[in-house]
Symmetry: C2
Subunit: 319 residues, 2 copies
């Protein structure tokens, strides 16, 4: 996506860039401050870099890699670790300490280390952005940046695509296992979909919204969480038939006693817009003092929507 | 609203302000660079200003008034003039030329002079913001500022509250005239509601979205416009009964031949979220290359939502 939008970034936003580092489990830590040939990323470790004519040197950890790459911006996209947010937290901390902006699509660091990373970014005069963590790249967090002196009292929504696809497919007659396979074949569910099915992904998103938008850190254990594993296909179809379909609903609310938060299957009446959110679509409804109800619906996003969120964060940090 | 949020603006955003000018048809042009006593705005013309102890001097036009007030920011809130956007265009132009930021809740200047005012603002290194013009203060224009390198292909929505309240009330059994009176008693419809009923307000909003978000200036005559005057209460109730209620729908679309735009009553199937938008709620659905469907719903806003949009613009221009 960076490459396909390169002309527009240059012409409309005056932004040019060079990819000077790539790291993955398979490739290891690759860096070349003169720029890597990412057209051929599969062979990047063997290919001489286009600018220097030399082979790209390998680093052994995130610190030497950031230094070798002379990184100005880090895109962090490791997968979710619900226990402690690692290694993403270390990567982002290293980037900020190195003097680079940090952009992540990984919500683990938000629930496990938001305040530390936010304050570190401020101290380093860098940005820490994470718009892709909730509703793909839909600018939820940026929206609230555009809503000064507003107070968020509560929210509810449908934020996990895998379970929503599974519920929709079970309504259409498939078994749980067939529905899960379909979600996997669509590229939405990972091979191990436990995090989705048991509500962890939705709970981490709920925690991220509470932590950032309500400015109240919340531990995952404080979120009342129930996944969709206990729902039979028969129950799902019966609920659909009685016009009160099941959805995995995320809720957060400020109360006098503190924050209450739940993630659980709920039967939704057809008059609630959530009842219409099917497949990969998602939905969030915010209750604020100014707008009693402000809702955002994302219909059928493509798989590139998350990548777009990181690209938009890139424009935010450099403009 | 400025006054009620004053402590929070100061403490959270480091913003302090002084109201140095007020102008209205009734009061005329009042200015005092030391600050006006707006607690008592009804008598401000007779009251000595709190800081100077002298009577606030009267100006005779917007130019001398801005100068007397030593204005840094203008809040422009005259009512809509569909023909030429005046006097709002002159007010905003005068503010920018004076060296003040200009904030307006009046959509006339957007369809009649957007490019001129936008370019003048850039030339003066000032901002020209207008978030309150569409969907009250919901940050529609700011949202697209947060969506770089995205392309808007089309949109549709329900953007006029008066007609939506009238249609809802006719569904509930009232006549057209009774419904209009109800909208007026709610403070939504003006005494002369012609602009709403004949679709002018919705058309100007449609034009504003096309002009700003698609970057294509469009004249009001190019928008295919039909109001709700031709709908009988019987037709509205029959449509509701057959589960395809009438809504005044705004549409804009980029085509190979240019922009097509319509404002007209349409019967909406219940599977479309627009069918649920009742009373003062509003809705917009954007089709973009990244997000095939991105929709925003504003449920039952208070009358302060438009004022909030101007306040949020104020924070945007000074932070």
């Amino acid at each position: 996506m960076l490459q396909s939008r390169e002309p527009e970034l240059r012409e409309r936003h005056g932004i040019s860039f060079r990819i000077t580092g790539i790291a993955s489990r398979r490739l290891g830590w690759i860096a070349d401050p003169n720029g890597l040939n990412v057209e051929n990323v599969e062979h990047v470790e063997r290919a001489p870099s286009p600018a220097s004519g030399k082979s790209a040197p390998h680093s052994t950890n995130v610190h030497t890699w950031l230094k070798s790459a002379q990184a100005d911006v880090l895109f962090e996209a490791t997968s979710l670790n619900v226990e402690n947010g690692q290694p993403a937290v270390d990567h982002i901390r290293a980037a900020l300490n190195h003097g680079a902006h940090a952009i992540t699509a990984n919500k683990g660091p938000i629930v496990h280390a938001y305040r530390e990373l936010r304050d570190l970014a401020v101290a380093q005069s860098k940005r820490f952005l994470f718009e892709s963590t909730v509703m793909d790249g839909v600018p939820i967090f940026s929206l609230f940046h555009e809503l000064p002196v507003i107070h968020l009292q509560g929210f509810h929504g449908i934020l996990n695509s895998t379970t929503n696809v599974i519920l929709s497919e079970m309504e259409n007659g498939l078994t749980f296992d067939e529905s899960l396979e379909k979600a996997q074949s669509l590229g939405i569910a990972e091979t191990d979909a436990t995090h989705d099915i048991d509500g962890w992904d939705a709970a981490v998103k709920t925690g991220a919204l509470i932590t950032v938008l309500m400015d109240v850190p919340i531990r995952l254990e404080e979120i009342n969480r129930e996944g969709i594993r206990g729902l039979s296909a028969e129950a799902v179809r019966a609920a659909k038939k009685e016009a009160r379909p099941y959805k995995l609903v995320c809720r957060g609310r400020k109360t006098e006693k503190g924050i209450t938060a739940t993630v659980r299957p709920e039967q939704i009446p057809l008059t609630d817009p959530m009842a219409q959110i099917a497949g990969t679509s998602s939905y969030i409804y915010f209750e604020t003092d100014i707008f009693p109800g402000l809702a955002i619906t994302e219909e059928n996003p493509g798989l590139y929507a998350t990548a777009y969120g990181m690209l938009a964060d890139f424009v935010r940090v450099v403009r």
